[in-house]
């Protein structure tokens, strides 16, 4: 067990070390990614400000009963999650399709290490790190503005719920990417997922009842951003926090089981 832990941590260090070294070979590419990130963030701040007339922020109810700074907390959580996906999820999970298409998944499957771990952690992209920092600042700053009490217990709960959001997002994405074993081309499916998750920029209560149900029960968008934001604002209820953890654990287990099942159908791109 201890040697397993050592093997995985050493592997992860080598994975990320080589990933960063590989990206430094192409400085321009890294620069473009950072620019795209900045544009993205400015865009979502602008759109949100439109909802509230003047963006300077009154405290009256705006979007689904959320005031401007409260909605900013949600946007902060969304930005943070988007940063995590740019750093870790997208670089890794979008490669699964290529691995299947080109048959290089063979090399991953031949290694004495968990293939889901390899596919999910092989690379890392620093381009998303500023976004994580901005998201964190936006989330906590807007929280303080509305007088949220950010004591240690609240922060710990926020951290746990953010982790659970990340796991949910990861597992959903991995589930979709896994279908490439059968369909090979699943970029479209991934785009649909991204569009649906973009809905998480705004508080879940801002949506009509039907969509709200969809975003809570089918695509757990509510758990991704609204629940951690409620935690920042000190108003998340115990059942919701537990439900978030449960959903995360459920999706994670499902993604593992589905991956194992899918490998039975892997035919390995022919030579």
């Amino acid at each position: 067990m201890a040697s397993d832990w050592r093997r995985y941590t050493r592997t992860l260090r080598r994975f990320w070390g080589t990933a960063l070294a590989g990206q430094l070979e192409y400085q321009l590419n890294l620069l473009i990614e950072l620019l795209a990130m900045a544009g993205n963030l400015a865009g979502s701040l602008f759109v949100l400000s439109l909802f509230y007339g003047n963006g300077s922020g009154g405290s009256g109810p705006g979007l689904g009963g959320w005031s401007w700074p409260e909605a900013q907390v949600v946007l902060g959580v969304y930005t943070l999650l988007d940063g995590v996906s740019s750093t870790l999820l997208r670089p890794n999970l979008s490669r699964i399709v290529t691995h299947v298409q080109e048959g290089t998944l063979d090399f991953v499957l031949l290694k004495p290490i968990d293939s889901q771990f390899w596919l999910s952690a092989r690379t890392v992209s620093p381009a998303g790190l500023p976004e994580i920092a901005v998201g964190l600042a936006l989330m906590l700053g807007a929280g303080l503005k509305v007088g949220a009490r950010l004591d240690a217990a609240t922060l710990a709960l926020v951290a746990v719920l953010l982790l659970s959001s990340t796991v949910i997002l990861y597992a959903l994405w991995f589930l979709l990417a896994t279908t490439s074993i059968w369909f090979v081309k699943t970029w479209n499916a991934t785009e649909v997922l991204r569009a649906a998750l973009a809905a998480g920029r705004y508080p879940i209560t801002a949506y009509p009842a039907g969509l709200r149900t969809l975003f809570t029960l089918v695509l757990p968008v509510a758990f991704l951003t609204t629940v951690p934001a409620e935690a920042v604002l000190g108003r998340v209820s115990g059942p919701w926090a537990l439900a978030s953890l449960g959903v995360a654990a459920g999706f994670l287990l499902l993604s593992r089981a589905f991956w194992r099942f899918a490998l039975r159908f892997y035919t390995s791109a022919s030579s």
Binding site: S3, T11, R14, A21, G22, Y26, E102, D106, L110, K111
Partner: protein, 345 residues
């Protein structure tokens, strides 16, 4: 027409008392493929109503390999070689039959199994393209749980055997194909696997690089006692490395035995080379056997073994023969013929 060998494995040639390290029992693999007519119409019809059919890629293949053997796996493109290798390495599940490699069932992909085998694919690479091979080797060392000292020792040893030096610190994209293949071999062998599955390891290499890879494999086998199952399009690889060959065609195993015995089984005929006093038209030779080549007064005929004596007597009687030579056709030619025609008449 050749008859496939029965599913019970023929006894392997260098029979040793030890347990076989690779066992294939009635391996079968059927792929489901989409049936689609060409053109836009066909594409639309396929999109609306998908039709599939089952294509058997490998049918009832059985054999065993003893530890330390080097076995050549021969067959034309699409014969089922790679599919068989993929079943033996656990990448794909067999549709029927079973396999045991180094005491494990491959498709379970247990750690002990994965640490005991390796697969080198000439047309796929695992090295990180933008970084020097040394980086990929360090990743593999961590994945296989080798500590730094041990990894360093093995890298040095393999680098010496493969004559690689400063190439290991140059980005992979800047290496020649030969250097890259050697580095691929290092990455595949760092964990000292007991069983090597090599799928076209010398594909695309020039003659010198091919020879070096071959020599390395011989040395490696001698030094470590590793078992090797090798596919190659280059007969030179097979003749230099493999005392024993498996011949697969149309997904079925046709031959399992010594390379030398292959010609007898493959070729129920012999080659007769004639030197004539003067050139004769091609039709002249039809009654004797199959005309293989006609170059002025030099003629090559293929004659069924059982008619050889009779035909040679007739040739000497009826034609102005200056010189006559009977030989087994070269193995390359036999296999080439099999690959072209699908069957051997």
């Amino acid at each position: 027409m050749l008859v496939p060998v029965p599913s019970a494995p023929l006894p392997p040639v260098p029979q040793t008392p030890s347990e076989p390290i690779v066992v294939a029992r009635g391996l079968c693999k059927t792929f489901r493929v989409a049936e689609k007519q060409p053109g836009l119409g066909g594409t639309l019809r396929h999109f609306l109503r998908r039709r599939h059919r089952d294509v058997p890629a490998v049918t009832d293949v059985s054999f065993t390999i003893q530890p330390g053997e080097i076995v050549g796996f021969l067959g034309p493109n699409g014969a089922g070689k790679t599919t068989t290798l993929k079943m033996l390495t656990g990448l794909i599940h067999p549709t029927a039959g079973s396999a045991t490699v180094a005491g494990h069932t491959p498709h379970r992909r247990q750690r002990g199994f994965l640490e005991a085998i390796t697969l080198v694919m000439g047309q796929k690479q695992q090295l990180i393209w933008d970084l020097p091979p040394l980086d990929s080797l360090r990743v593999n060392a961590a994945v296989y749980g080798l500590d730094d000292t041990e990894a360093r020792r093995r890298i040095d040893e393999l680098a010496e055997m493969l004559e690689l030096g400063e190439e290991l610190t140059r980005p992979v994209r800047k290496l020649s194909l030969g250097q890259r293949m050697k580095a691929e071999l290092m990455a595949a062998l760092l964990h000292r696997p007991a069983v090597l599955f090599l799928d076209e390891p010398s594909l695309g290499l020039d003659v010198n690089a091919q020879a070096r890879v071959r020599q390395f494999l011989v040395d490696y086998n001698r030094r470590t006692g590793a078992t090797v199952l090798l596919t190659s399009h280059y007969m030179a690889d097979i003749t230099a490395l493999c005392p024993r060959v498996l011949l697969i065609h149309g997904g079925r195993l046709f031959y399992d035995g010594r390379l030398a015995g292959l010609s007898e089984r493959l070729a129920p005929w012999r080659q007769v080379r004639l030197e004539l006093a003067q050139p004769l038209p091609a039709e002249t030779f039809h009654s004797y056997g199959e005309l293989e080549s006609l170059d002025g007064a030099e003629v090559r005929l293929l004659i069924p073994r059982q008619r050889l004596t009779e035909v040679v007597a007739r040739l000497l009687n009826e034609l102005p023969v200056l010189d006559l030579e009977v030989s087994d056709p070269p193995i390359e030619e036999l296999i080439g013929r099999l690959f072209r025609q699908g069957v051997v008449a």
